[in-house]
Amino acid sequence: MQSSNDRSRRAGGGPDGGTDHGAVPGRAYVETAPGPRYDGPRYDDPWYDALASGWGESDGPGATVPAPSPVRRETAGEPSRAAADVYLEVQRSAAFQEVRRRYRRFVVPAVAAFLLWYVAYVVAATTAPALMARPVAGAVNVAMVAGLGQFLTTFLLTWAYARHARLRRDRAALELRWDTQELTRGVRGGAS
C-alpha cells in the first residue's frame, strides 16, 4: 500500500516541511473544543493534529464519517476482509517499513548510547572516585564535568529526537494513519 497523493490537504511544503495544514473540515471541531485557543496560524501547533485525528475517525460514534474515496476502495480489495488483514497489509507495505526503519535507526543507537554513558557514569562514580576527583578548572573536577555532561547530552538528545521525528517521521506517519483508517473503515462498512 503506497501513500496516496489524492488529497487536497497535501497542499504545500517541501518533503520535510512542517506546513502540512489547512484541514478545513476540522475547523468546527476546534471551535467546540473546551481547551485554550490559539490565535493566528501556528503550523507546528499540536492542535493541528487534533484536527487531523478528530476529523471523522475519533469523534466518537455520533460523528459523520466521510465516505472513503473510490481510489481507496479499489486498493482495499474486497470489502468483506477482516480489519486484522488491513493491519497486516499495512505492516508489510513499503511506506510503513520506511517509517519503522527511520524510527528504529534513530532510537536504537541513541538508547544504546545514552544508557551506556549513564551506566559508565554511575559505575565510575562508585568505583573510581579518585579519577572523578581529578581537578579540571578551579573547584570543578571530572565528576562535576561528567554530571553536567549528562544534563547536556540529555538536552541534546531530546532536541535531536524531536527534530528527527518532526522532519523524518511525522508526515509519513500521518499519511499512513489516514490510509489505514480509511482502509479499516472500508472494511467495517463505514461504521468505525
Binding site: 499540536p46 493534529d49 573547584a139 562535576m144 521525528a165 494513519r177
Partner: protein
C-alpha cells in the same frame, strides 16, 4: 521555629488548598461523568499544559527537599540522584510516550492487553500498577508528615498523624470530584509555584556569591569540613562494596523506573495525539532538567551558607536544608524577609506533596476500576459505571495509603521513592517494552514478565535491611534480613525481563501475528487512536 513562620506558612498553604478546591469544584461543575473525562481529562490539553503537569507530577517533595538536602550533607553524591531522575526521561521520550499514546486508552494494561488474552494480562498489570502507586503514595505521605513536624517545630506525633490523614482526605476529594481535569490543573499550578520558588532561591544564592559558581563550590567544600572530597563522589556511597552495589542498583532503578510509573503513563492520554505527547515530554524534560540544575545550586548553597552541621542538627536526613537556606537568604531568623521566604518554601513543599499525591491516586484508581474491576467482576452482577467504581477506589486507596503512611513514617522519603521506582522498573517496564517491540511476545510471557518482576522486587525488599535486621529498619526487633541491598533493582529488573522471555519461549500458543501487526502499525502511525 517562631510563631510568625507557622502562621504565615499555614496561611499560604490554606490559600493553596482553597485555590485547588476552587479548581476542583469549578471543573466538577460541568463534568459529564464519562470515563474519557474522568481518566483523561477529555484529552484536549495542550503540550505545554501537559508538560507542566508532567513535571508537576514528577518533581516531588523528595526531589525539592530530599536531593538538595543530600547535596548539602554529602556534596557530590546527592547530585547522582538528580542525574538519574533526568536521564530517565530519555527512555520515556524515545521508547514509551508516543507509542503508549497511540496504543492505549487509559492505563498501562490497555497497551499490553491489546495484543494478548485480555483478562490475565489486565489483572497482572493492574496489580503491579496499584502496588507501584501505593508505594509511591506512602513516600509522599511520609514526606508530608515530616514536613509538618518541621513546620510546627516539634515532632508531635498527633500533628503528624493528623497531617497524613488530612493530606489523604484532600487527595480523595480532588480525585473523586475533579478527575483528571482538576488533577491536571492542580499539577500545573503546583509546577509553576515550585519552579517560581526554586528560581527565586537560586537567584538569591547566585547573587550572594556575585554569580561566581566557583566561589560557591569552594565555600561549600570548606564549610563542609571535607575539603575537595565534598565535590567528588564517595562521601555517601563510597563505603564498602555493598553500599556501592546499592547505589548502582538505585541508579538502574531510577533510570528505568520512570517509564513504568502509572501516573506518568496516564498523563500521555490527556493530549490529543502522539505528536502532542512527544512535545509535552520535550517541555517536561526542559522544565525538569532546569529544576534539577537549580536544586544542585540550592544544595551547594545550603552547604556554603547554612553549613552541613546546622542542617544535620535540624534534620538528620537533610530534608530541612532548603527551608533553612531560605531563612538565611531572607536575612536570618529574626528578619521579616527570612520569615516570609521560609513560609513560602514550606507552603510550596506542602503544595508539591498534595499535588503529587492526587496524581498518583487518580492513576491507581484508574487501574483498579478499568483493569481489576472490569476483569474480576462476576459476569451476572449488575454492571456499574466504571467511573463510579473509580471514585470509590480512590477512597479505598486513600485509606490504604494513610494507614501505610502512618506505619512507615520514620523511613527516609527519597529512599521510599527509590523503592517505588525499582518495582516500576521490574514489573511494568519489561512487559511494556516487550509488547511494543517484540513480535513473538505471548500472553504467558506478559503475565510472567509482570509477576516475575513484581514478586522478586517486593520479596527482596521484605528480606532487605529496610524491613528488619538493622536499627533503622521498619521492624528493628525482627531479623529476616537475607538480602544485603536496600534497593532490589539490580536483581529484580533483569529478573523481570528474564521471566518475560522465559514465559514466551515456553508458551504453548504461537504469538498472534495479526495482533502484533495491529499494535505495531497503531503505535507508530496513530491509526485508530482514541
Amino acid at each position: 521555629m517562631t510563631g510568625d513562620h507557622q502562621t504565615l506558612a499555614l496561611l499560604l498553604f490554606s490559600t493553596f488548598v482553597a485555590v485547588t478546591l476552587g479548581i476542583t469544584t469549578w471543573v466538577g461543575r460541568h463534568r459529564h461523568g464519562s470515563a474519557e473525562e474522568f481518566y483523561a481529562g477529555g484529552r484536549l490539553f495542550s503540550p505545554m499544559e501537559n508538560g507542566f503537569a508532567i513535571s508537576g507530577d514528577y518533581m516531588s517533595a523528595a526531589s525539592f527537599l530530599g536531593i538538595s538536602g543530600l547535596i548539602a550533607l554529602y556534596g557530590y553524591d546527592g547530585m547522582l540522584y538528580s542525574v538519574g531522575f533526568l536521564v530517565a526521561w530519555l527512555v520515556v521520550l524515545f521508547l514509551v510516550a508516543e507509542l503508549v499514546r497511540n496504543c492505549g486508552r487509559f492505563t498501562l494494561a490497555d497497551v499490553v492487553a491489546a495484543r494478548m488474552r485480555e483478562r490475565p494480562v489486565r489483572i497482572a498489570a493492574g496489580i503491579s500498577s496499584v502496588t507501584v502507586s501505593v508505594l509511591y503514595l506512602v513516600a509522599q505521605m511520609v514526606g508530608a508528615g515530616s514536613l509538618v513536624a518541621l513546620l510546627l517545630g516539634g515532632t508531635s506525633e498527633a500533628a503528624r498523624t493528623w497531617t497524613v490523614i488530612g493530606v489523604g482526605a484532600l487527595m480523595v476529594i480532588y480525585v473523586s470530584l475533579g478527575g483528571m481535569r482538576a488533577t491536571t490543573w492542580i499539577q500545573i499550578v503546583k509546577a509553576v509555584l515550585l519552579l517560581g520558588g526554586t528560581v527565586a532561591l537560586t537567584a538569591l544564592v547566585l547573587v550572594r556569591f556575585h554569580g561566581d559558581v566557583d566561589r560557591l563550590l569552594r565555600t561549600a567544600a570548606e564549610r563542609s569540613g571535607h575539603g575537595e572530597a565534598f565535590l567528588a563522589p564517595g562521601l555517601a556511597y563510597g563505603g564498602d562494596w555493598v553500599s556501592r552495589f546499592d547505589f548502582i542498583s538505585l541508579g538502574l532503578a531510577l533510570v528505568l523506573g520512570t517509564a513504568g510509573l502509572p501516573h506518568i503513563l496516564s498523563r500521555f492520554y490527556t493530549v490529543p495525539t502522539a505528536r502532542a505527547a512527544r512535545r509535552s515530554v520535550v517541555w517536561s524534560i526542559g522544565l525538569i532538567g532546569g529544576f534539577y540544575l537549580m536544586t544542585i545550586v540550592l544544595g551547594f548553597g545550603a552547604a556554603a551558607l547554612v553549613g552541613p552541621d546546622t542542617v544535620r542538627a535540624s534534620n538528620a536526613a537533610g530534608n530541612t536544608a532548603v527551608p533553612l537556606l531560605a531563612l538565611d537568604l531572607g536575612g536570618g531568623a529574626q528578619s521579616t524577609g527570612g520569615t516570609v521566604l521560609f513560609a513560602v518554601v514550606a507552603a510550596v513543599a506542602f503544595a508539591t506533596i498534595l499535588a503529587v499525591v492526587a496524581g498518583i491516586t487518580l492513576a491507581s484508581s484508574a487501574s483498579v476500576a478499568h483493569d481489576l474491576y472490569a476483569s474480576l467482576r462476576r459476569r451476572h452482577s449488575k454492571p456499574r459505571s466504571e467511573v463510579a467504581v473509580a471514585r470509590v477506589a480512590s477512597v479505598g486507596i486513600g485509606a490504604v495509603a494513610i494507614g501505610l503512611g502512618l506505619l512507615a513514617r520514620d523511613l527516609n522519603v527519597a529512599f521510599l521513592v527509590g523503592l517505588a521506582f525499582a518495582v516500576a522498573a521490574s514489573a511494568n517496564l519489561p512487559v511494556l517494552l516487550y509488547s511494543l517491540f517484540w513480535r513473538g511476545f505471548t500472553t504467558r510471557g506478559a503475565v510472567w514478565a509482570v509477576y516475575g518482576g513484581l514478586v522478586p522486587s517486593v520479596v527482596l525488599v521484605l528480606l532487605s535491611p529496610v524491613v528488619s535486621g538493622s536499627p533503622q529498619s521498619l521492624f528493628p526487633g525482627l531479623d529476616l534480613q537475607y538480602f544485603p541491598l536496600q534497593n532490589p533493582g539490580l536483581v529484580s529488573i533483569p529478573l523481570g525481563f528474564l521471566a518475560g522471555w522465559l514465559g514466551t519461549v515456553t508458551s504453548p500458543e504461537p504469538p498472534d501475528e495479526a495482533k502484533h501487526a495491529e499494535t505495531e502499525v497503531r503505535s507508530l502511525t496513530g491509526a485508530g487512536a482514541v
